[in-house]
Symmetry: C3
Subunit: 338 residues, 3 copies
């Protein structure tokens, strides 16, 4: 719960209207209640906001919603997200260990942490201050969950995995499973040892049913601020730099390295030992072949991936192939007719 | 358990043979036992049926399996599925709450519902008549499970999600997790609030380890009769119309809308804000770019997707590109020779 | 714990140095401790090995790391994996049933098996000698887990599934769920019965959050020694021959058959009723259309997949399409100029 004035200060917004107004949540204009904050980032949404039950609205510079308390900012969507971050402080679970949870006497659980029903915390594991470990979460031996983390129900954390402060993991994710590495010999596949580590940084978010494997001999690393969507596969020894984002169903194969602020679309496949430099953008469903380097800031698409502009031009001609073939045929006719 | 005569009436089939025969299950001809129903949809399968241990067989019009009770119908496979629907009435779990389950005193669980071992049902949640909630299912605050639903083990239902009557959810699915939405500002990604709803209709089926996110501010909606395979990703604010089917590993990005009776193949990627109209068919691995509209009944393939017939023609020429290039080279030779 | 001499005998290696040296684990050169085994498969890694804390190193013929006990073999990586197989004998869980587990009185659990916290083992299920069933594993009615199996936490095994000796299943996998089969009639989809079996062979490994459906009327079969990565989908009635490997996020549709020693890259889509013969290799993201046969040993890529060499040549020309179109235009100019 904040006042409009407090929000204005927090956002550096210009306040017009009742600064004492109470704001307790966020919503879309149509479903908002009086205490919800809404936002208007373009003039065409102002009408809907005006008829909303909400009393307080974040607006983009130059927009004014009559009859409401207006918080005027440069980037209304960003300000709305920042306001949400303080209004929707993560649901405060009651601290303490649920009576049904099984927590090893040799685990260290902060007093202010919350351990949900049927959670298992093995020996040597640590759960930091203010962290929530949901129902059915499995925290293996020696795993380390930082402070203010939130693990939704059914997260599996294998032994020895470390997770930084403020990180949120959605239901069903599996962190630190042994990776997929084999050596073929004498007619069968021998498991290459998968005894490395997995280190997940601070303020990371990992989606539902995503899998992140531990290193084989080395370490799988996910940097600070990285955001990973649902059903993503991150293999052994992968490294992902700070503030990169990875959309759903993408797969990153063993030992590939992504720089910081890389953007990866959905269903992208990155083969092993690739290097994706800082700020590169990989379009949805793109395929990056083994060992390939994508340069800093480059935008690529297709399988195997090519620079976006070239891919689009080539794909345009792909669409005109029947016509091009027709023109060649015509030329052949003329040529033989002469 | 039904008699052959009861099945004939139910299916509108022409009965030949012993109408009093007991039928208790369904099977393939090779593994069937005497009381199993089998089916023959083409003459070439009649021999196998004749040697089957099964006593009763659904046959396509014009086919007759000697020595068996025959149920003759227009569409044998459909009739077989309809017979299975009544023969294999969903395994009736004993009603009641397993002693190990944790059910809030403020949840409403129908007397005839079955709550499995280690299930968690939070406050305000509702479980309707005749529904089965499997082992380890997590039903968050205020979630609403209709009547005659079946949740297999390990389904996670986040707070406030609603599921219609007769819907079946397979193991490991995650319903209503916060979606993947951020606003980039000041060098980091700010979570766009994901506080909307998820409404799943009646007679829906959702496969194993599938993820369906809740709306950001609005509502994610899955219409009546929709069938979703395993490992599918459905993002925030997506709407899927009635009786659409979505095959495995497909991903549907934020705010895309599918009409009714849409058919989506496996591993299809639908980017955000697309509109797939009624009855459209998207071939396996197709990619639909952001904001794209696929018209009613259209069949498309490829990435970016194109009408199937055109894509096939273009891909045919793609295969003949080396030859086409050779022909151009030949023309150039001739042309410069003049 | 083994001596260097014991390892040398096991690997058929030529020992140089202290044969009595104790070796207890495996590691990479940089993070190894004194008792860890490391390996050097190329001269350029010898320097790193020399400065490692490890005392014992497996080396490729012709390489010698000074100051260490050397085990010289033909294939250092293979020998290292084989050594790991005996050094890292699967973490021995204490035998017995955890007090929180719910095991039916009608299940048969070997004395030497370990059943973890909150596991559920239903009636008629069998757990063989030396097998580990992790926390939250659900073993349905009549399911059969062989000897020396390892099920990591949260594996769901539906009723009747059978798993061979020595098989390892990672967290979150769902084995034996009803498949995705429907018959369309009277405006709705009728579930085609999914009452078949799932048989998983010996020495199989199945990754995290992977789904393998039971047969519809027949049996889904995964052969001996098959390795399946994370987030893979294997549909009803699929058969996979011995020692095939399937990388992450691949999907195999209903009734497709893979031979033995097939290699499938990541994110491959195999439609229904395909036949992939022994030793075929499917490149990452390839798409195999319905009913397609890939011949023994063939290497294919693309969607729809083509022989790798042809695909690469065609894709090369795809990249030169704008240039080819320019050349056609030039020819047309010349031709009309005459």
């Amino acid at each position: 719960m904040r006042t409009a004035r407090e929000l204005a200060q927090h956002l550096g917004a210009k306040l017009t209207g009742d600064g004492g107004l109470q704001v307790s949540g966020v919503a879309g204009a149509a479903s908002a209640m009086a205490e919800d904050l809404i936002y208007v980032e373009a003039e065409r949404y102002a009408g809907e906001a005006e008829t909303s039950a909400a009393s307080c609205v974040v607006v983009k510079e130059g927009i004014r919603v009559p009859g409401k308390t207006n918080l005027e900012v440069k980037d209304a969507k960003l300000a709305f997200a920042k306001a949400a971050a303080i209004l929707l402080s993560k649901e405060t679970k009651e601290p303490g260990i649920h009576s049904s949870a099984i927590v090893s006497a040799k685990a260290r659980v902060a007093k202010s942490a919350s351990i949900g029903p049927f959670a298992v915390v093995e020996e040597g594991a640590e759960i930091g201050d203010g962290s929530t470990v949901g129902a059915y979460c499995f925290i293996g031996k020696g795993a380390r969950i930082g402070q203010q983390c939130r693990l939704h129900p059914r997260v599996t954390v294998y032994a020895g995995v470390s997770i930084g402060n403020g990180t949120e993991i959605h239901a069903g994710s599996v962190l630190g499973a042994p990776g997929f590495g084999y050596v073929y010999g004498e007619g069968v596949y021998w498991k290459f040892p998968q005894v490395g580590k997995l280190e997940i940084g601070e303020d990371v978010e990992i989606g539902a049913n995503t899998t992140v494997d531990r290193g084989s001999l080395g370490t799988t690393r996910i940097g600070r601020g990285v955001k990973v969507d649902n059903l993503v596969q991150i293999a052994h020894n992968v490294e992902i730099g700070e503030h990169s984002v990875i959309a759903s169903q993408t797969g990153i194969s063993g030992s590939s390295r992504l720089g910081s602020r890389v953007v990866v679309g959905g269903q992208v496949g990155i083969a092993d030992h690739c290097e994706i430099e800082d700020g590169a953008i990989l379009g949805a469903q793109a395929g990056i072949p083994t060992g390939k380097k994508i340069r800093r800031g480059q935008i690529v698409w297709g399988t195997p991936a090519r620079p976006l502009v070239k891919f689009k031009e080539q794909y345009g001609w792909f669409g005109r192939l029947p016509e091009l073939a027709e023109r060649v045929k015509e030329l052949e006719k003329r040529s033989s007719g002469e």
